[in-house]
Point group: C2
Chain length 245, copies 2
C-alpha cells in the first residue's frame, strides 16, 4: 500500500475500512425529565443486556449507522422507542468519553436532556415493566448503570441554569398550563422559592407565552388561574439577568 499522501482520495476511500483501526464505542444517552404532581421525574430503563444487565439506566444506546441520520435523531429514536413519542424539547448537554466507563473498552457517550409532558406518554409506559418514571431524588440515590448518575446530575445542573435565565422548563408541562404551575416547576428545579411578582414580570416582558382565554379547572377554593401556552421561540428566549442564586 502506497503512503496515503500519494494516493488519490478516491483510492484512499475505496481502500478505507474502519475495522482496520482500533475504534471506540460511541453511544447517545438521554435524560428525559417530566413533572408529575409538582415533582421532577426522570425516565429510566432496565437494561436487557450486558454489561449492567438488569440495572436501571438512561434510555439510549449505540448509534445505528443505518437508521440514524445524526446524533439528535439517535437520541429521539431511543426516546421514542421507550415513550412512543418524540419529546418537544431536546438539547445536547455534553459528551463523556474515557477508558474506564464501559468494561468493553474506550467509550464515548453524547448526553442529551429532553423535556416532555407526562400526560403524553403515560399509557405507553404503564404497560411495560422495564421502563419507569422515577422521582429525580430517588434516581440520584439508586445505583445506576455506567456513569449515568453523573450524567443525570450534569443534565440537572444544565436545566437549573436554564431555569435561571430562560423558560425552557415550560416544555416539561402539558400544552396548556397556569403561571403558578410554571413557577412551581422552576422552584422544584432550582430547589428554592421564587418571588412570584418577579417571575410574572419577566415572563410578561419576555412575551413568549400567550393566554388561551380558558381558566384552569380549579378543584379547590381560590381564584381560578388563567391558562397559557407557549409561543414560538420560547426555547431560545434568554433573560439578561439570572434569577438570584
Amino acid at each position: 500500500m502506497k503512503p496515503m499522501s500519494q494516493q488519490t482520495e478516491q483510492a484512499y476511500l475505496a481502500s478505507y475500512n474502519i475495522k482496520d483501526y482500533d475504534v471506540c464505542l460511541t453511544s447517545v444517552d438521554s435524560v428525559l425529565f417530566t413533572v408529575i404532581h409538582g415533582e421532577l421525574y426522570t425516565l429510566l430503563v432496565r437494561r436487557a443486556n450486558h454489561p449492567f444487565l438488569g440495572v436501571w439506566g438512561l434510555p439510549g444506546g449505540f448509534i445505528d449507522v443505518q437508521l440514524d441520520e445524526d446524533l439528535s435523531a439517535c437520541a429521539n429514536r431511543h426516546l421514542a422507542e421507550k415513550t412512543g413519542v418524540t419529546p418537544p424539547y431536546l438539547e445536547q448537554v455534553a459528551s463523556v468519553g474515557n477508558k474506564t466507563r464501559d468494561p468493553r473498552g474506550w467509550s464515548t457517550t453524547v448526553t442529551y436532556y429532553a423535556l416532555m409532558a407526562h400526560a403524553h406518554c403515560t399509557t405507553d409506559i404503564d404497560s411495560v415493566d422495564d421502563v419507569q418514571w422515577l422521582p429525580l431524588q430517588q434516581t440520584l440515590n439508586m445505583e445506576l448503570a455506567f456513569d449515568h448518575k453523573q450524567m443525570i446530575e450534569q443534565a440537572l445542573a444544565r436545566l437549573q441554569q436554564k431555569a435561571l435565565y430562560s423558560l425552557v422548563p415550560v416544555y416539561a408541562l402539558p400544552e396548556t398550563f397556569t403561571l403558578s404551575e410554571l413557577q412551581q416547576l422552576h422552584e422544584v428545579i432550582l430547589g428554592k422559592s421564587i418571588q412570584s411578582k418577579s417571575f410574572r414580570r419577566r415572563i410578561e416582558l419576555a412575551d413568549v407565552l400567550e393566554e388561551t382565554g380558558e381558566l384552569s379547572q380549579h378543584k379547590g377554593k381560590g381564584k381560578p388561574a388563567a391558562l397559557y401556552r407557549v409561543k414560538e421561540g420560547a426555547a431560545d428566549y434568554r433573560f439578561m439577568r439570572n434569577l438570584e442564586n
Copy 2:
C-alpha cells in the same frame, strides 16, 4: 452463541469484539484561540492525509484508545503536538455527528475550544509550514476541511457568551496584562465596544484578578496601566448579569 441475557457478564465480555459491529468514527477537534495585536486568531493545521488532503482544518483527530485517558486528554494531546504546550483553558463545546460529514462514513466529533497566550508557542509554530495562526475573520472566509467552519462558529458563539458573563477570555492573554488589554479582548470577541467603567466595576466585584504591582511598559503617550494576573477560580466566576447584547 446463547442469548446475551443468559450468559454471565464475564462470558459476554470475553466474547465481545467491537469489530463484530458497525461502529462509527469518533474524533476530537479543538478551536484554539489566541489574541495577537488585539485581534483574535485561531490555530489551523494543513491536513497531511485524505480526506481533504492539503486543506486547512482544526487541530484534532481520532481518539487513540491506547494513549488517551479521556476526551480532554485527547484534545490536549493533539494541541500539544501542534503548539508544544498545553493551553491553560479548555472547554467542551458540543458534539456533531451524522452520516455525511465524513466521506468515510458515520462520524462523530467532539469539539473543544481552548485559549492560550500567543507568546507561549510562537517559536514552535513559526518553524513549520503546516501549522498556522490565522485571523479569525480570515478562517471564516476560507474553505476548511469537513464541517470545521461551523465548529469554529459554534466555538466563537460560546466564547461570546462567556465574554458576556465571565472572565474566561483572560486565558487568551499572557500571564500579566492590563485591564485595557482585557477589555479590548472582550470587545474584539463581542464585536462591539464596552463601557470601560462598567467593565472595571464588575471585575473589581468579581475579585478574580490581582495587581502585580508592576506597570505596563508603555511605549507611547498616556498614563501607564497597572498589570494584573488572574487568581484561582477565574474560569468559574459567573456574573449575575450579562453585558448588554
